[in-house]
Amino acid sequence: MNDEHLLTLECRQFLVTEAELLDDHRLHEWLELLTDDIEYRVPRRVMRERGAEASEFSDDGFLFRDDRGTLQTRVERYDKEYAWAENPPSRTRRIVGNVRPVERADDDVTVKNNVIVYRSQGDDADHDLITGEREDVLRRNDDGEFRLARRTVRLDQTVLPTRNLSIFL
């Protein structure tokens, strides 16, 4: 197995572990996987004509544009009994695939991956599906372990098919 395969496996392992924490609602442990200077962004996708000058992914419009502090605030709110959006909690299943490291620089690895988030919450058989491509920057800490330093989620939906985003993508 060459270095590239090893790196891909290592990235995949990180992302799978992260998905497990989110699916299991272990949000405080999830926060531990983020660097202090994390940039967490979900830009608004805009349906544009082919060849349009402006990007399909907005430079100014976001569903999330968070740093560690705002993420922490969100997580602390979900601890509260009165945070109705997650009480009862969403049942989620994140499938992470097509993991591909695309760039390495010093301690950072930029890794693209696709995610499908299945979510159900109501008292019926319905579910929501949210899908997208994530571009993540994983950074090694002093112990050589990866931490998430940057995430950009490029959604496939322009109009979101879910009542709220009280979950992380």
């Binding site: 979900v42 608004r44 805009v46 349906m47 544009r48 004509e49 349009a52 000058e53 402006a54 907005s58 430079d59 100014d60 419009g61 976001f62 569903l63 999330f64 544009r65 968070d66 740093d67 502090g69 705002t70 922490q72 605030t73 969100r74 602390e76 709110r77 509260k80 009994e81 009165y82 945070a83 109705w84 959006a85 997650e86 009480n87 109501g122 322009t158 109009v159 979101l160 098919p161 879910t162 009542r163 709220n164 985003l165 009280s166």
Partner: protein, 473 residues
Amino acid sequence: MGDTSNQVSGSRDVRDVVEDVGRVAETGEVPSRIHNDREIHEVELERVFGEMWVFVGHVSEIPEPGDYAKRYVGDSPFIFVRDETGEIRVLFDSCQHRGTTVVRAEQGNTSHFRCPYHNWTYKNTGELVGVPYKNEFYQELDTCEHALESATQVDSYRGLVFATISESAPPLEEYLGDFTWYLDLNLGFVEDGFEVVGEPIRWEIDTNWKIGADNFTGDSYHTLATHKSAMDLDIFPPELSATGAERAPADVTNCSGHSCMLAYLENGTLTGGYPPEVFSADGLSADQFEIARGLVSSVGTVFPNLSFLQMNLNADPDDREVTAFLNLRKWQPLGPKKTQLWNWILVPRTASEEFKERAYDTGIATFSISGSFEVDDFAVWDGIAEAAGSTYVKKHRSTSNFQMGVGEMSDSADISEEWPGPGDVYDTNLEDGTMRTFYQSWYRAMTHRRIDAEREDAPSKRRDRRPNQEERR
């Protein structure tokens, strides 16, 4: 024009339900069924969304000639576009040939719209300029007769562009009526106005459009329960909330058919919010400016489905500051139990880039699809429609309660006499009159009356005023 009688169309059952809503001012109750009923939804499309003025977009969304965005009035598709001369138009998105939509993207910039079916081509003014093989096979077609149609009336107020597909709707200025006093207060206290950041965030929820529209007229009561977690964490500092001792509250009801709530700190004691340098007293009365300067929270609904909100919130109380922003919200009805939300965050045009970014972040972290306030509302509102659509509700004629402030329910006082602005105004945010106004307007629209009871008999002057230069900025 369809049926113009004051009787609502539909089955007798539905007529009774609508008539019950008409008594909301006295009873403080509305039949729950109106929040999820197929027949009522269809009548609404015709009588509410087909007759009222509906918000289309903000002028700052299409700053350059050729900028366009696809928008909807009820279920009718429109193109919100700034044409090559700078004029803002709202064109029905349907080719004059076979009727397909000519805009296929959400937004963009173009000098022409070309229909994909047979390549009929229109300038961004709507003028038909291209019909393939016209000289051979369409020799007598008068292209002047086949421009893309404008919405029946289009007008704007302080940058908010509205359209109506009704010929009999009164002019916008008359439709907004006295409520412009509150729109001025919310939009007019900053130098050079507000601008939209990014594109509106859109998503779909399983509830009725009226739930959000009524909630955004006021309902400070729910804040204490639904949003308790946000208050516990100081995202909404409790001293600024409805129970805060320092704030001066006012609920504005019966204001030309529209309603809102606001609360402010007197004598300019509010710090934070907007940066001091963006404020400007020009264009507001001294009273309006005094209130706007101390505004801690303000929400309202322009009937039927445009809401606005201004609050001082904090996305990260440990590290950030309390920050204000302006939120516009459109509740687009897709079905009796399906609503598409359109959410815009606006910031003062002259604020620093640093402030604009912080204000936007505060907005999306609190009042948008992932917002800490909003996410909890949606967890509750689905349930209203779920129960409202049930056989139980029909069978037992269940009602929803909007009685706070009716009769002797509370000690709140009518302060309309001393209050500087229009409407029937109360000295509390804990009353339901703002929501009763919303349902009263709904009843009036559903029975083909004007929503402003006081002007109903006044003759309506049809006007086709275009946005003037200042409003276009």
